[in-house]
Amino acid sequence: MRATCWMGTQKVSVEQVPDPQILNARDAIVKVTATTICGSDLHLYNGFMPTMQKGDILGHEFMGEVVEVGKGVKNLAVGDRVVVPFCIACGACEACEMKNFSCCENTNPTGWMPEKLMGHATCGAFGYSHLTGGFAGGQAEYVRVPFADVGPLKVPSSLTDEQVLFLSDILPTGYMGAEFCEITPRKVIAVFGAGPVGQFAIASARMLGAERVIAIDRFPYRLRLAMEKAGATDVINYQEQNVQETLRDLTAGRGPDACIDCVGLEAHGNGLQYAYDKAKQVARIAQDRPMAVREAILACRGAGIVSILGVYAGYMDKFPIGPLMNRGITIKTGQCHVHRYMKPLLERIMRGDIDPSFVVSHHMNLGDAAGAYDMFMRKQDDVMKIVLRS
């Protein structure tokens, strides 16, 4: 089959590789009908995530048709149309029982690696380095899905691929980030980063009843989409406005009740702080550029909540622990427990509460994956979300 392989920093290519086979009884093989590139794939693309190996198949947002099931899979049949959560969960460990699926204790066969780096192992995930198990990803023609009786969600044919594809990651991720904010109508929510996850965080905050949601980015087309489709009430372009001052202004001095960081480790910004972060990252002294999360903590109201969805990799420098502690800010974060949100969000899509297809900006062929990565990284042609099909 053909698959998008990571061949080195800023090098991906579509290679001919062996077809996946059933390795465990609870596996299924899925023929991928639609997949997409995630902002977090860019961290791999740009070489910021350790433990990548040449030849790793990328992609953790995908959906498709079941073509083979292992003996242990009773709830799926060949021909089923499914969306697959990016994190792999066993459904039986304590973490899974508590619905903390992305902390599953059984799905990371290379768990000793994150144990060294992060203290404990994370769950397994598709196409996301060897820290998350070394599982081939879904930017391919076929993919092996472990614990297929736990993860994949059957979706009705009445919905298009573009409407359900994002249930695999970014819609639940954005939703979880908004849920962290314990939203009431009185609460003002600031969303840092208006990429696809940011758009869904904004839309979810509105769905959960926030009256005022502020989007922050540097690309006018992304801010426009946030206002027109996701439902942001205000926008800040940080290259033109001072974020702290504008947020204080918009909230009459209080600061947002909750801030959602949808940026992560490759944040951009202005001035010295950005130059400092960037220099350290280039010199490989630091993995993370923490502009967005710093801004979020400083902006947040006392005893407010900072919800971190952006991906971070390592041990951060110049983290504002003083402001965080003294003003009693709560941080809530995590890789999304996708399994927890898929069904309720599918119901919301079917009810028409949200149509996630609004983030799709481009359709491309799987064979053009290399070009798609480059375009997505450079934010060319007002790119938002690229759907790949083979």
Binding site: D19, Q53, E97, A136, R144
Partner: protein
């Protein structure tokens, strides 16, 4: 955790004065020698009874660099046997080189022999200190102890473990274990190929609580295992704690070496035990279905590796009858 292990954990952090003082002395001496050799190599070679040629100076400087590095290594980790063993090995090599140099140079025979004697005593002293540090380390930290929490009641986890035939399901270096009463016959795969086998005896069997075994008297190596099963705080679930010791009887330091070698293995074993009990089998990824590093991409070898393991598991399972 039984009180013995708790006590051991507390004691593990305490200084072991004997070995500690000795290793620091070795470290500082090593640093001192290193500095002298680096700064005044000619004087050092002349004291050692060598013709102070440019070649000898270069050799002495190189040794100085090594001595300095080893000394710092020992001072940074005075309780660890590894840097000390490196010191002893370097002493032995240095002694060999010195003997060779002295033999070829007849003009300073007396000094040469004196420095040889000094080197031999250094080696002896370093070896003695290393011995002490190693022994202290062994009383402080062996055996290997690891633990895992399994989301099943203790009775079930115990029952699974008690059927020793099940062990190869998650201890992937074992080929088979066969039980005959309280005795069992273990066959393990060697990393270099071939197998090794031994007989063990169950010494403690407290249903739902504890299992302990050890190799029978007269085995080529000693292997002891102790596994406790305790209810996790406040509910269902089992805290499994494993202590294991492997050593070659009579060979000092073999337990420490074995500990270093078996540590990652036992951690992996427990990870797999949890997988087998909670999910039914050991999970493979595209990377983990290969012996060495492999990219996250399907491969025919990976598939056959995983399937072979699955077949082995089924066979072991059949022998074990129930889970």
């Amino acid at each position: 955790m039984d009180s013995l292990s708790a006590l051991r954990n507390i004691n593990a952090g305490r200084d072991v004065p004997d070995g500690f003082v000795l290793s620091r002395a070795v470290g500082w001496t090593s640093v001192g020698m290193g500095i002298a050799e680096l700064l005044v190599p000619r004087a050092v070679s002349s004291i050692a009874g060598l013709e102070p040629t440019t070649g000898a100076s270069l050799g002495v400087r190189t040794k100085g660099f090594g001595d300095l590095a080893l000394g710092l290594g020992i001072l940074l980790r005075p309780r660890r046997p590894m840097p000390m063993w490196a010191r002893v090995a370097t002493d032995a090599i240095g002694l060999g080189l010195l003997a060779w140099a002295v033999r070829g140079d007849k003009s300073h025979r007396a000094r040469g022999i004196a420095s040889l004697v000094a080197s031999v005593s250094t080696l002896a002293l370093d070896a003695y200190a290393t011995q002490k540090v190693t022994a202290a380390q062994e009383t402080a930290a062996s055996p290997v102890m690891f633990s895992v929490t399994i989301n099943k009641p203790p009775a079930e986890v115990y029952a699974f473990f008690r059927r020793l035939e099940n062990l190869p399901l998650f201890m992937d270096y074992l080929e088979s274990v066969e039980q005959k009463g309280t005795r069992s016959h273990w066959i393990a795969k060697m990393p270099v190929g071939g197998t090794v086998s031994w007989d063990a005896e169950l010494v403690t069997d407290l249903p739902g609580e504890r299992l302990a075994w050890q190799t029978v008297a007269g085995s080529t190596f000693a292997h002891r295992g102790n596994v406790t099963f305790a209810s996790r705080p406040g509910g269902t679930g089992t805290e499994v704690r494993v202590e294991m010791e492997v050593e070659l009887p009579g060979v000092d330091g073999s337990a420490t070496l074995a500990k270093l070698l078996t540590k990652p293995q036992i951690k992996g074993d427990l990870r797999r035990l949890k997988q087998v009990l909670e999910t039914g089998e050991v999970l493979f990824s595209d990377a983990s279905s290969h012996r060495g590093p492999h990219p996250a991409q399907p491969s025919t070898e990976g598939t056959s590796f995983a399937r072979a393991r699955a077949t082995e598991s089924r066979q072991a399972h059949r022998k074990g009858v129930v889970r």
